[in-house]
């Protein structure tokens, strides 16, 4: 399980109004990476480079052992790709799409496709143009999953879905996770979804990868520390503080390198630790982005 499914090294891509700046990223086989970024942060560009659809200006990309974009055909035989801006042919039925995709993938699993049809409540004879947005996403997911991919790349697949459809899609993704050999690269700006299914998290902002870590480590390291500082005491220098809010006497520190020893350190300096709050992934993402932007304005 130590094989790398994705390996990006110093990948850059320049557009007139956007620069993807030296992205380096590794993802081991069987991992689920949640790729989080605001709109326009570079998620889709990164994914297009991963799929071999856009050639990087600099750096190297290996996907499932294939150099991209040169060996994209071989790589894509093992990739299932669903993107928010990907559409199926409106005039054709889902059954036609299934047989079209099956003709390209030797490992197409028709029995699994039929199971997904029932699970997603999709009618194969229905034309795509007659499907709702949620049904179209589920159809695209079916086409990606039934080809038995080793790597699943999902670019904001749940955008615009109603809560029921989102739950169904996420539920299916969760069941896919039981296959330990399958790697998932899941891009979204919905941190709640990412938190649910991912074991690794990457943050991207303004074309730069600003964090890449195991989810549990990330959630453990980020804390909001509420202090009470007496008039004659000073807040000690704490590691990894990215934001100080509150008042002088009641400061609230956001740290990316929380250590339980911080509590005793504060107490030794006469500062009372009122509370140590864990943070949600969304709070961590926002704090991380804001602190980076303050350090490196656009």
């Amino acid at each position: 399980m130590n094989n790398l499914s994705i390996q990006m090294e110093g990948v850059s891509k320049r557009y007139p109004h956007f620069f993807l700046d030296s992205i380096s990223l590794e993802l081991r086989e069987g991992s689920v990476l949640g790729f989080i970024g605001a709109n326009g942060a570079g998620k889709s560009t990164t994914i297009r480079i991963l799929m071999g659809l856009v050639r990087q200006d600099a750096g190297s990309v290996q996907v499932l052992g294939h150099s991209m974009p040169a060996e994209q055909t071989a790589a894509k035989l093992d990739i299932g790709f669903v993107s928010e801006d990907m559409r199926l042919y409106g005039a054709a039925t889902l059954r036609w799409h299934m047989s079209f995709v099956a003709s390209m993938y030797p490992r197409w699993d028709q029995a699994y496709a039929d199971t997904l049809l029932r699970r997603f409540d999709l009618k194969p004879e229905q034309k795509i143009k007659g499907l709702s947005h949620g049904q179209r996403v589920k159809a695209a997911l079916l086409l990606a999953l039934a080809r038995q991919p080793r790597l699943l790349i999902l670019d904001e697949p749940t955008t615009g879905l109603d809560p029921v459809a989102r739950r169904e899609v996420l539920g299916e993704l969760m069941s896919v996770l039981t296959d330990e050999g399958r790697t998932i690269f899941f891009s979204s700006h919905n941190t709640l979804e990412v938190e649910q299914i991912s074991d690794h998290i990457a943050f991207i902002d303004r074309g730069r990868l600003i964090a890449l870590d195991e989810k549990e480590d990330l959630l453990d390291r980020w804390r909001r520390v509420r202090l009470m500082v007496p008039p004659n005491a000073a807040v000690p220098q704490l590691p990894g503080v990215v934001e100080v809010a509150g008042t002088e006497r009641l400061p609230v520190l956001t740290t990316s390198q929380f250590d339980p020893a911080v509590v005793s350190l504060c107490q030794n300096r006469g500062v009372t630790v009122e509370a140590v709050d864990s943070m949600t992934l969304e709070e961590i993402f926002v704090a991380n982005v804001q602190s980076r932007r303050e350090l490196q304005p656009a």
């Binding site: 974009p69 055909t73 894509k76």
Partner: protein, 228 residues
């Protein structure tokens, strides 16, 4: 993006896809074209002209519609991302687009061209028109290739529309020019088929233009860095 080998099975699947999605317009165009050819059988000059106009409209229209549906709409309707998510390289995609458009276009084109030439060979018909008709038929093939190439390379509705406009204009202008060339006009209304050197050179030049355009398309496509 150099995936050097072309997988013919993948190309075939992509061609069949385009045929399936566009079969309606092709199959619909054939009876319209054959109906136009039937007009010639009335033997009147006015119906002959009407037949030529309808045939041109049908053939050019089919070519333009195909180019639009298979290239521009694929990008506009965001189905390109779906196709390119499959194990398809840019070479296979380009080859499939060119072949799909030409093969599908050749179905009505061959049928209607053969029909038109056949009608001109009927007893009592103006047989001398045959070389000019052949030249114009091949001109329409060149025109369609140009439109397809514009669609594939630019992926732009505006540029493809410009290609259609220039091609339509080109057919009329070239048709007028060819009809007034001495080597063609001299025998055009005669009762015998005369393949003059002028007619042969024009036909050969037209036929050579097609592979030249296709080669240029592959060259330009190979220099593209972004497919989406």
């Amino acid at each position: 993006m150099n995936s050097s080998r072309i997988n013919l099975a993948v190309v075939r699947h992509l061609i069949l896809k385009d045929w399936y999605l566009n079969r309606g317009i092709i199959l619909g165009s054939i009876p319209v074209g054959l109906g136009a050819l039937a007009l010639v059988l009335t033997g009147k000059p006015v119906t002959f002209m009407l037949c030529i106009i309808i045939l041109c409209m049908v053939i050019v229209g089919v070519g333009a519609q195909l180019a639009f549906a298979t290239t521009i709409n694929e990008r506009k309707e965001q189905t390109l991302a779906f196709v390119m998510s499959l194990p398809v390289s840019w070479r296979e995609y380009t080859a499939a687009k060119i072949l799909a458009n030409l093969i599908i276009f050749l179905i009505p084109w061959l049928l209607l061209t053969a029909g038109a030439l056949g009608v001109l060979l009927l007893p009592g018909a103006t047989h001398g028109l045959l070389p000019f008709t052949a030249i114009m038929a091949v001109e329409m093939l060149v025109t369609t290739t140009l439109i397809v190439v514009a669609g594939i390379i630019t992926e732009s509705q505006a540029w493809t529309m410009a290609g259609i406009f220039c091609s339509s204009l080109g057919i009329n202008v070239l048709g007028y020019v060819f009809a007034h060339l001495r080597g063609i006009s001299m025998h055009m209304w005669g009762t015998r088929v005369q393949w003059t050197s002028t007619a042969c050179i024009i036909l050969i030049c037209e036929l050579l233009t097609v592979p030249l355009l296709l080669g240029a398309t592959f060259y330009v496509q190979s220099r593209k860095t972004d497919f989406l």
